[in-house]
């Protein structure tokens, strides 16, 4: 099948970007979208033109590397799938496909379709963990956890940190990503001791990174390859509200005997 690609090309973080058009006459319906880019790149290299830069690794929808807006949809038209899981049989012969990078101030473009998503790591660093040192854990079955709680936590924990939620959100808000982590830990007994701290710290970092606020548009959920439920955002709001009401000046660190 024949496809025409309209791809965003940008030489570097500060360079001017523009769209370039490429014809691919030998696309196969069995190719994944990334394999299509591979083929296009091989051609470009032979022609002596710089190949299209794009992040990718696992190519099976779990690492969260691949990140591109395909025809106006982060990860493309297939629901609950990443760009690397999108196969060309979902396009028609002769289609023109527009490919753009994630667009958000906290995700500066590095080159072509590659954006810097470090802001998501920094949100997790602010408190997306249980502070338990290696070796200080009780027996794994010491604290029983209701199956449903574990399952719900897993639903939220399935987030792959791809950033499609930010890309899709009209406000470029990172609420769904942050909510997923806060919900995952907030639903488990292990996450309770730091629940308040976590919500406050992670939201503060999220705001610091200059993501937009949430207007409850719901686009993030539509674009999310792991279909993280919108309910998690409500949970985050609730936890943050409760945490703000409960917050106190940090208590003394204890004597240095």
């Amino acid at each position: 099948m024949k496809l025409t690609l309209k791809v965003w090309r940008q030489a570097g973080p500060h360079a001017q970007g523009r769209f370039e058009t490429y014809e691919e006459p030998e696309a196969s319906p069995d190719m994944s979208f990334l394999e299509l880019l591979d083929v296009v790149n091989e051609r470009l290299i032979r022609r002596g033109q710089p190949p299209i830069a794009f992040d990718h690794d696992c190519r099976e929808g779990i690492c969260g590397s691949c990140a591109m807006v395909i025809n106006g949809m982060p990860h493309g038209p297939v629901r609950g799938a990443t760009a690397c899981q999108l196969h060309l049989r979902h396009f028609a012969d002769g289609d023109t496909v527009v490919v753009e990078p994630w667009r958000a101030r906290p995700f500066p473009v590095i080159r072509d379709l590659v954006a810097d998503r470090g802001a998501l790591d920094r949100i997790v660093q602010a408190g997306g963990y249980v502070s338990v040192g290696t070796g200080s854990a009780p027996d794994a079955n010491a604290i029983p956890i209701p199956k449903d709680a574990a399952e719900q936590a897993m639903d939220a924990a399935a987030c792959i940190g791809c950033g499609a939620c930010v890309a899709a959100c009209p406000n470029a808000s990172a609420m769904l990503f942050t909510a997923a982590k806060v919900t995952h830990l907030g639903l488990l007994p292990q996450g309770q001791p730091e629940r308040t701290r976590r919500a406050l710290a992670m939201v503060r970092r999220m705001d610091l990174e200059a993501f937009g606020g949430c207007t409850n548009y719901g686009e993030c959920h539509e674009a999310c390859p792991k279909e993280i439920p919108l309910e998690t955002i409500a949970r985050l709001n609730r936890d943050y509200l409760a945490a703000s009401l409960a917050e106190r000046e940090p208590a003394g660190r204890g004597g240095t005997g």
Binding site: S28, E35, L36, P51, C63, S65, H87, A158
Partner: protein, 637 residues
């Protein structure tokens, strides 16, 4: 070079405890003064960096990924083993130890494997405490499944995303240390070489993948947790970025490489759909519980599966292995598939595939039951192939999945270069000649959480480490070499792309150093690889410069190393004149096609020492002794 495995004496059960007690400790006040360079942020790297940071060392954690959370560990599906015996089905540390040694076909160290089994229980505790949402029973306790043909149910899992959840656990521990300022993560930073000063590993040279800056990093110890090298075959279930560069560069600096030819091939992967294929997708082996494997009896039978009458189908596994049938172990199932395809009876594009047929199971159990058991796998299959496995039989084919070989390490996980420690899939591992399902995650976390934090301290406490700065001439020297390599890659300006060469290398390796290996085949490969390497350096085309984000350049460097490393693999495969685990030498099989081990000649670890550019590497042998299990041969008839 002599190999001293530093194996502790005493009874098996207490070796590790005694050894730990003997290890020197670093005074907490002094730890901050030691800088540790951890390369890799997968299960092994992240858990090590986080724990060392916790202990107070100054840790730098390098990864070529844009985030530590994207390390290939994220892709692990099935689960992680631990000798918890929560199911009360007779599991124990000793049984896990025994199964691992036997599964490894008696080519691994008793002491290491026993330690692995011992700490496996702590791993589960640690992960649960971090908030890993393992599957649970209604009563709230942890659920288990049995995996990879084990008779006990000891595998812990989080849906089909166990690796992801475990890595996110380790990643969160790492994130916590970053916030505390003990660990600094350097993403999009690729290690290109190791710096050895006065015989000790004291630093690395990296390339920043965004700016292209070549940088020097000095430290008191280097920890490699850079994963496996399955991508030497081009097509594998590994992530595209997996590579051998870090370990191979260390090998060239004097670290012995252990059992490079030991690779594991997984029987149930989705077959290649065309030349454009960039990687292969694994599908859980559990499918073989209900699916029947078959191909047409006659070669070149072009008919669609539905039109092939029962009488003209060959259910070859059931035919050849009546008792185990479709559940024959990984390597046997893989080899038989290759055989029938070599006979021209393969199905699907290129004739590289066999049917995995569920129609009987669906007739017997009904579609709902099958959907219930394999729904998500069937979906995944349909998403990729566009075929509905409820109607037409699946097509499967084996694919390279895991590499047991890696840098040789002693009981303390230290390589033959003092100060260079190697963890996870990157070391030659506790899996011998074949890894059991759900044991790699266990090993990566055991190394990172529970072994290296003790043994590294011992190294630091014992060795007089004079301060070394990046201005030391040794750094300048290695940096110059790295820069020169980059320059040369860009200078060739040939006609063929990097992937082009990688694909060709893959074909050679798959053909001659894959599932079934022959002496003459390996010799052919040993001719072909250097030729291909030369062609690469004369005709590869890498565009752009070294001072920018340049993915072709990254790939080129990795493929260049694969092109050298592949030779070492074939050499090792050629020298090991026996069949064991994942290594099958056609010359060494029983009348009925069973692998034939040669314990008298080959009960040892092959550790290869680099001898210089165009000199043959030197083979060193670490003999393996078995005091607690007796060497037996398996039979699946």
């Amino acid at each position: 070079m002599e190999l001293n495995a530093q194996l502790p004496g005493g009874p098996l059960e207490s070796k590790w405890d005694h050894h730990k007690f003997g290890l020197k400790l670093v005074n907490p006040a002094n730890r901050r003064k030691h800088r540790i360079l951890v390369v890799g942020s997968g299960l092994a790297g992240a858990s090590a960096a986080a724990t060392l940071g916790e202990q107070g060392y100054e840790v730098l954690c390098f990864t070529f990924h844009d985030s530590p959370r994207r390390a290939h560990s994220i892709a692990a599906q099935g689960g992680i083993n631990a000798a918890k015996n929560y199911q009360n089905d007779g599991d124990s540390v000793f049984r896990l130890f025994y199964d691992t040694i036997k599964g490894g076909d008696f080519r691994s160290r008793e002491a290491n494997v026993y330690r692995l089994a011992q700490v496996s229980v702590n791993i589960i505790d640690q992960c649960v405490a971090q908030g890993v949402p393992f599957a649970r029973e209604y009563g709230g306790v942890l659920a288990n499944r049995s995996f990879g043909g084990a008779q006990v149910s000891r595998t812990f899992y989080a849906r089909g995303q166990t690796g992801q959840q475990l890595l996110l656990g380790a990643y969160s521990a790492l994130a916590r240390q970053v916030e505390r300022g003990t660990v600094r993560v350097l993403p999009r930073t690729e290690m290109l070489d190791l710096v050895v000063v006065n015989g000790r590993a004291r630093g690395i040279i990296t390339r920043h993948l965004v700016t292209g800056a070549i940088e020097r990093w000095a430290g008191d110890a280097v920890v490699l947790a850079t994963g496996g090298y399955g991508n030497v075959f081009y097509l594998s279930t590994n992530a595209k970025g997996c590579n051998v560069t870090a370990t191979f560069r260390a090998y060239r600096r004097g670290a012995a490489f252990g059992n490079p030819c030991f690779t594991q091939i997984h029987p149930t992967c989705i077959p290649v759909s065309g030349e454009h294929q960039s990687k292969l997708t694994l599908m859980s082996e559990s499918l073989r519980n209900d699916g029947r494997v078959w191909v047409p009896r006659t070669a070149g039978d072009g008919r669609p599966p539905g039109e092939v009458p029962e009488a003209e189908r060959d259910y070859y596994l059931e035919r050849k292995y009546p008792s185990f049938g479709n559940l024959a172990p990984r390597d046997i199932a893989s080899r038989s598939a290759k055989e029938v395809c070599d006979e021209g009876r393969g199905v699907g594009p290129g004739g590289l595939g066999v049917y995995l047929d569920f129609s009987d199971a669906i007739r017997r159990l009904g579609e709902p039951t099958i959907r219930d058991r394999y729904g998500n796998l069937f979906e995944m299959y349909e998403r990729i192939t566009g075929e509905n496995p409820y109607r037409v039989p699946m097509r499967i084919y084996p694919a390279v999945h895991y590499t047991m070989g890696g840098l040789w390490v002693d009981y303390n996980l230290m390589s033959t270069i003092p100060g260079l420690h190697v963890l996870g899939e990157a070391n030659f591992s506790d899996h011998g000649a074949n890894r059991l399902g759900a044991s790699a995650l266990m090993q990566g976390l055991a190394d990172g959480y529970f072994v290296i934090p003790y043994t590294l301290g011992d190294y630091l406490a014992r060795s007089p480490l004079e301060p070394v700065s990046p201005d030391h001439p040794a750094f300048a020297e290695v940096e110059a070499e790295v820069a020169e390599r980059t320059r040369r890659l860009l200078a060739v300006q040939g006609t063929r792309t990097v992937d082009d060469f990688h694909r060709e290398l893959g074909r050679i390796m798959w053909e001659h150093c894959g599932m079934a290996r022959r002496a003459e085949g390996l010799r052919t490969a040993l001719q072909a690889i250097p030729a291909l390497r030369q062609a690469f350096w004369e005709d590869v085309r890498v565009l752009g410069t070294g001072e920018e984000f340049n993915q072709s350049l990254e790939k080129a460097g990795r493929v260049a190393d694969f092109l050298e490393f592949a030779e070492l693999m074939c050499r090792d495969a050629l020298h090991r004149e026996e069949s064991c685990g994942g290594h099958f030498r056609v010359e060494h099989q029983t009348a009925d096609g069973e692998a034939r081990r040669d314990d008298d000649r080959f009960t040892y670890v092959a550790a290869w020492e680099y001898a210089g550019p165009d000199r043959a590497p030197v083979l060193h042998k670490e003999p393996l002794t078995f005091e607690h299990v007796h060497l037996s041969t398996r039979s699946y008839k």
